[in-house]
């Protein structure tokens, strides 16, 4: 397949490295994926624009309240160009985005970019903490379960993972807050701006555990099943056994590496769900992240802010999937070689 997205090789001495880089399958894959993502992102913004505009009420009536006179409403709409036709507004917004301008919020004079800049770090930190907790817990747990299927750890984990998949985040939040913030005041129940790195970790501990727990249940179950399947049916496991490699080493060095590929797919697919779940958790712990802003902006019909947030979410999902794809190549030489031949 010929996709000429990658950088042109430099025509100067010492350009060999650049040429090699440009020809590298990773770069080509990235370019192809990013190009393919553009229509998807465009569709996402269009969809959210249409949905928001189809809703009854607009920013003028939501922000000025029910006591506003028709003249005030009209003036407000003209000021913010809300009186223009749908397509003109979308076109103007899209034109701005293409030039790197996300527009200004309807509710305040702030630019959407600066609102995102304030809110994004909180949500990002939450998502990263949650993912780190998930992986740190679920990978060793799954390996231990797969070492002795139907052993004591495995049985314990079956109960635990079923529970953690089934429990609603707000119910879990309720119990964790009661235990760790009220009875044993270890962690704070309500967010206050962190002053140091340690207090920052404290602030995010409970919310990220709540986000992580269902994922831990899900990933552990998946990884355990995948490891067992690898150990039972794969030829390379037979080869390793024939060489006299110990079972533990086969499990952790051979099978685990192969199972990571499946795990990565699941993580990539789950990123959107995880980001969605932050909205609820941010609300429960009153974290000043993207989710809170989103809720507010939807009820204010603050279209530009919602569009900005949706775009960020969309880009995050696309990037996560791209990273997943690139990691396949790192983990699996077969994928790497097929790509470099194509």
């Amino acid at each position: 397949m010929n996709t000429s997205v990658s950088v042109q090789p430099a025509r100067r001495p010492g350009g060999a490295r650049a040429r090699r880089l440009a020809g590298s399958p990773a770069l080509r894959v990235s370019g192809r994926r990013l190009l393919a993502a553009i229509p998807v992102l465009w569709g996402v913004t269009l969809l959210s624009f249409l949905v928001l505009n189809a809703l009854p009420g607009d920013a003028a009536s939501a922000l000025l309240g029910i006591n506003a006179t028709p003249a005030e409403l009209k003036a407000f709409r003209i000021k913010l160009h809300l009186n223009e036709p749908l397509w003109t507004r979308y076109g103007n917004w899209l034109g701005g985005v293409v030039h790197g301008d996300l527009g200004t919020s309807i509710a305040s004079p702030q630019s959407v970019a600066s609102i995102l800049g304030q809110r994004l770090p909180v949500t990002l930190e939450l998502v990263i903490f949650a993912l780190v907790i998930t992986l740190v817990v679920s990978i060793p747990l799954a390996v231990l379960c797969a070492r002795r299927p139907r052993g004591i750890i495995d049985r314990f984990n079956m109960v635990l993972s079923m529970g953690s998949i089934s429990i609603a985040p707000y119910v879990l939040a309720f119990f964790l807050v009661i235990v760790f913030a009220v009875d044993l005041p270890v962690f704070p129940a309500i967010y206050s701006a962190p002053t140091s790195i340690i207090s920052n970790v404290y602030q995010f501990a409970l919310p990220s555990i709540i986000l992580a727990l269902p994922l831990i249940g899900f990933y552990t179950r998946f990884l355990r099943a995948d490891l067992l399947e690898q150990m039972q049916s794969e030829d390379y496991v037979v080869t390793a056994r024939a060489k006299g490699v110990s079972e533990w080493r086969i499990l952790t060095r051979h099978a685990l590496r192969n199972s990571f590929i499946g795990l990565l797919t699941i993580i990539g697919l789950n990123i959107a769900t995880l980001i969605g779940a932050t909205v609820i958790v941010e609300q429960i712990f009153s974290l000043p992240g993207i989710g809170q802003e989103l809720l507010q902006s939807i009820s204010n019909r603050n279209v530009t802010v919602v569009e900005g947030i949706v775009l960020v979410f969309g880009v995050a999902v696309v990037l996560a999937n791209l990273l997943t794809d690139l990691a396949y190549g790192v983990l699996d030489p077969r994928i790497r070689h097929v790509r470099s031949r194509s």
Binding site: S166, I167, P169, T273, G276, S299, V310
Partner: protein, 297 residues
């Protein structure tokens, strides 16, 4: 290549996962049916108590409680789970709230299964540009944080049961479409389908009498897991203020409104939480049990 008949059997007949010689295979057979029977029975009991029991008139009304009977503790006479801060019987609110949870979950699954399932099936079987277009649209929905759509729909239409159903279907339709497309793709080129096509069977007949019956195990187990997620998200909408409006009962809004009184009266949250957890666990267990019984991956 295996004969078509064996292929049909492979999906229709439960796949024995344990080899016969394995010790404890028999006991595992019993366990396996317990995996299905126990959660199934609990769910049927819950459904019975939520939908049929109140018809006998032995349950007090879920609204219009008396001021004299507020904040009764557990196991008081006439109120097994006590009463809430306005004197409504908690037991009765649990049962009526359960109706909402089950109806919403079932409706969202049915909508997802029919619309999403059909889209996935058509996309996989038709192939070509139709599949490309449908899948790009699906990609948009998948890259789109579904909660945004759900919140926008719930906010715009206002809080009510039917609007919650429409909002949550925004989740289930793309998910079902993906599962059904994957299932249909794996069946599309199987010998029995090819044989049907070669013998001149009409496309819609191949889809509905050859493909759909073989896809059902996968779609049904998926919808059980989906139902459990739907019940949880319905509660989350209550939490964010977009769910079932307050005088009406639902497990989610009972938990949400009870949170203000957790320090004085934790039962307001604990009882609905336990029912919610019991229901979602049973749905997940039943889904898992059926999945291993039917050999769905």
């Amino acid at each position: 290549m295996s004969v078509p008949a064996a292929d049909i059997l492979a999906t229709a007949v439960p796949v024995p996962a344990a080899s016969a010689g394995e010790p404890g295979a028999r006991r595992r057979g019993v366990l396996r049916s317990a995996e299905i029977v126990i959660p199934g029975t609990v769910l049927l009991l819950l459904l019975f108590f939520c939908f049929i029991w109140p018809l006998f008139g032995m349950v007090p009304k879920p609204v219009g409680g008396l001021l004299q009977t507020t904040d009764l503790p557990l196991f008081s006479s006439g109120h097994i789970f006590g009463t809430d801060i306005v004197g409504n019987d908690i037991m009765s609110r649990i049962l009526y709230g359960g109706r909402v949870s089950f109806v919403v979950a079932a409706a969202v699954q049915v909508i997802g299964l029919t619309i999403g399932g059909l889209l996935g099936l058509v996309a996989a079987y038709a192939g070509g540009w139709l599949e490309a277009v449908l899948m790009r649209v699906l990609d948009v929905f998948i890259a789109f944080p579904s909660l945004v759509l759900v919140l926008a729909i719930a906010d715009g239409l206002g809080p009510s049961e039917i609007h919650v159903i429409w909002a949550l279907s925004a989740f289930s339709i793309p998910a079902f479409a993906q599962v059904s497309r994957a299932a249909a793709l794996s069946l599309r080129d199987r010998p029995f389908v090819v044989a049907a096509r070669l013998s001149g069977t009409r496309t819609w007949r191949i889809m509905f009498t050859h493909l759909v019956p073989n896809m059902l195990p996968q779609l049904l187990t998926f919808s059980l897991l989906g139902a459990s997620i739907t019940i949880i998200i319905e509660g989350a909408l209550d939490f964010l203020g977009y769910g079932i409006p307050p005088p009406g009962a639902s497990w989610g809004n009972m938990i949400a409104s009870g949170q203000s009184y957790i320090s004085v009266y934790p039962m307001l949250v604990v009882v609905p939480s336990l029912f919610l957890l019991l229901t979602t666990i049973c749905l997940n267990l039943l889904g898992d049990g059926l999945r291993s019984r039917w050999g769905v991956r």
